[in-house]
Symmetry: C2
Subunit: 477 residues, 2 copies
């Protein structure tokens, strides 16, 4: 019902709301709004609207509901599941939040920042830094991702272990509902038990229930001490044991525990300028450990030192280095964050963003590896990620010399193989990237009918006309 091509009159009415300067209709200018970050999906649209106020967003949605026009909210378009791009062959109108990019207020005493949903994540981090506070959400695309998108996908990233996902970093929201009504939920309260949790329903809903236009985000004091270590390990089992040791010795001071395979070191040292292997020995696996302390800089050093000593004593660590400067810490993280881009020059890469219970990671990895190599002998498995969260980016690079497009044609087949093992360990087929279009039908297949039915009822309760980002998360009726 929302696939009718809008008439020229209707398009003119939408343009009237934002003004001609802020509406895009030319194919060339529209192009970057249509393709998701990995190029797997390319949608179509007659119109991109760039509202400059919450009121304009409200008027756009009211008109959309009245005319059954599908609306796709878009932030920085950095998502990985085609949740923020329009459908192919339909006439979804894109509502870009890019002009709603004002920091409304920053309160270092109350430890909150109130911002428009179109603010770029790095700008939020920077504004916090300017008042000697930390906004901990950190991820590869932070220079272009916008916080409305981070909220709509409940973004994770590298600091989840200590600070949680976006859901834990947000105190309140302002949301424009499909009817144009505004839910004013911009609260700054740490505790508020007054009815159903609307906030957490909009967070992670991928723009299918309404458009987030503003948020109250939490700030934190800055740590005084930080230390990063990099350890070579013999196995994933040892990485799990080391994580357990680190949790027990560091508690919440453990702000990062990332797992990397040897292949990640090879790919990054080969393809990413400036990346060097930090160790002079070769290991099957690596852990990047990040510790933050508040009482003093020395206590982070002391903590990492004790951890490495205990890890070596227990036979878990084969070799390790400790960063000697902030620059060295950054270099270690840069290597970790370069694993994704470093896969590109190695040919096709089939990606998975999965999670399993932390204690099941070794068994999951062994079983998934066996299944993948049985299907594609010579496939190069580059599974890395946020071990402390149970979140593995289980990526598979094509065999050396294989045909890229033949390999990539097996995307869905390999997904099925890997996700079957994920489900065996009661894991998730999307740990942090969301569902969008990419995993929509798979979600319906792996979750119980009643769970999908409850989601459908929520969708219908919030968006009975079905105009909000249709066919994302759930297939439109």
């Amino acid at each position: 019902m929302t696939s009718v091509i809008p008439s020229p009159e209707l398009i003119a009415s939408f343009i009237d709301i934002v003004g001609a300067d802020y509406a895009v209709t030319g194919a060339g200018e529209i192009a970057p709004y249509l393709v998701e970050s990995r190029g797997l999906y390319r949608g179509t649209t007659p119109l991109v609207l760039k509202p400059g106020s919450v009121d304009e967003v409200s008027r756009i949605l009211r008109l959309a509901t009245d005319t059954l026009t599908a609306i796709v909210p878009q932030g920085g378009n950095t998502g990985h599941v085609a949740g923020g791009v329009p459908r192919e062959g339909k006439a979804d109108v894109i509502l870009s939040l890019e002009r709603l990019n004002r920091i409304r207020e920053i309160d270092p005493v109350g430890n909150v920042i109130v911002a428009d949903a179109g603010c770029i994540l790095a700008d939020i981090q920077g504004a916090a830094d300017d008042v000697d506070r930390l906004f901990p959400l950190s991820l590869g695309s932070e220079g272009s991702a916008r916080i409305g998108g981070n909220l709509s996908t409940n973004a994770g990233g590298t600091a989840v272990l200590a600070y949680g996902n976006m859901r834990q970093l947000c105190l309140g929201l302002e949301v424009v509902l499909p009817t144009g009504e505004v839910w004013e939920g911009l609260r700054r309260l740490k505790k508020d038990n007054t009815g159903y949790d609307l906030r957490d329903l909009f967070i992670g809903a991928e723009g299918t229930l309404g458009v987030i236009t503003g948020a109250v985000l939490r700030l934190f004091p800055k740590p005084r001490g930080r230390q990063v270590a990099f350890a070579g390990l013999a196995s994933v089992e040892n990485a799990l044991a080391l994580f357990d040791l680190a949790s027990s010795l560091c508690g919440p001071a453990l702000t990062g525990f990332e797992l990397m395979p040897r292949l990640g070191i090879e790919f990054t040292t080969r393809h990413i300028p400036g990346v060097r292997d930090p160790l002079d020995s070769i290991h099957s696996w690596y852990a990047l450990v990040d510790v933050s302390t508040f009482d003093s800089a020395e206590s982070a050093d002391r903590m990492v030192q004790s951890l490495l000593e205990a890890g070596i004593r227990d036979g878990l660590i084969e070799n390790a280095v400790v960063a000697q400067s902030e620059a060295q810490s950054e270099a270690l993280w840069h290597m970790r964050e370069s694993i994704s881009p470093a896969q590109k020059p190695e040919g096709g890469s089939i990606k998975h963003d999965v999670s399993v219970p932390v204690s099941s990671i070794p068994a999951f990895m062994a079983e998934a590896d066996a299944a993948v190599l049985k299907a594609i002998p010579g496939a190069r498995i580059c599974a890395f990620g946020h071990m402390g969260d149970g979140n593995i980016h289980y990526n598979i690079s094509q065999p050396v010399g294989a045909d890229k497009s033949v390999f990539l044609d097996r995307w869905r087949e390999m997904n099925a193989i890997v996700h079957a093992v994920v489900l065996k360990y009661d894991g998730s087929i999307s740990a942090e990237h969301g569902i969008g279009q990419l995993k929509r039908d798979e979600l319906a297949a792996v979750r119980s009918p009643i769970e999908i039915e409850l989601m459908r009822r929520i969708k219908h309760a919030f968006d009975p006309a079905g105009i909000m980002n249709p066919d994302k998360v759930l297939r439109a009726d």
Copy 2:
């Protein structure tokens, strides 16, 4: 539509599901299920059912939906808002979770415990302790409160600052829906972005959307160090500044920061056996500071020492003691937790469980005090609580010598006065106790019509027959 008195045949059908041994119909045996913890509400019921399995819960709800019988889920019946007791003058059937009290699994490596909803909170804490882990939820009624109720009210307590509310402590749920269908969401994942956040919708829903029958709860490593200090302060402003200092020096090691007025010390030393004023000087306000560390016992001592030195240097602390033993730490916490019971012998007490942004606490307190004393000169304000969470239990004891029932008759009037100040500071009228019947109509009055409408739509989407705990949170249609 759910107020029809069940026929004897229908009651017999309900009893058949659980067996006669586990159904209560005699007035004497029923009595304790009818009154909420503070005695403000007394409901009526023809029947208490004590199912012994998830399947029995499912059959009860299916029959209830088919016959439009109202069901009230009840845990330990320790709630403060009459959310777990039946309505007065209706025929709600009580579904007690008390027999579903089995710990299904405990996994110290994966740091989870899977338990029936009827487990008593203290038993969960104890089971965690047995495997050298911490389950951090801690509150006054932990010896009788059941975790299904803790989940349904998103319980807070004394460790929220470091570990969060129940919502942050729960990874997955098993919920029986009003139709009897079971939502199997017992996941153990730290990250899982797959569609709408059903879990957080059931948490805090006070049993109005379904019956929680099981949960996966998070465990944590036990801290190696703990130190508790008690400081006398001149003002609430100084308490806020000290909290800020403590956050900056201790980061997440700060596990408790409680505020108490002089009156709290007077009431507890007067009425609670064994409680003594820890300081030999008199102060207007007091802070209880609790610090936990993982690397060593000494680092907690060191941290508290630095904090007290900095607090004295900055003129924030007038006098302070540090606990010299675990017993002294417990004694300090015991004093803090005895403030509520110590108000009883002082006559009537009108209670508020409110939150405001942490930085607004001093202004809120000054304004609320002035308004209360204007209305009731001589009223003794005993406002205490979880300052670090912005959560104040703003209680008002009657003037000395006043008539208790005349004073208590002003409950709603004083609520209106205090909550008006709360709302001025964008606060919450229920920080941690929930809505139930006590604050239901007030919620509808203080929240926007669209917010109440969204909640109604959720209620209708999950419970179209309106059988689940009707008239709690929202007024039944």
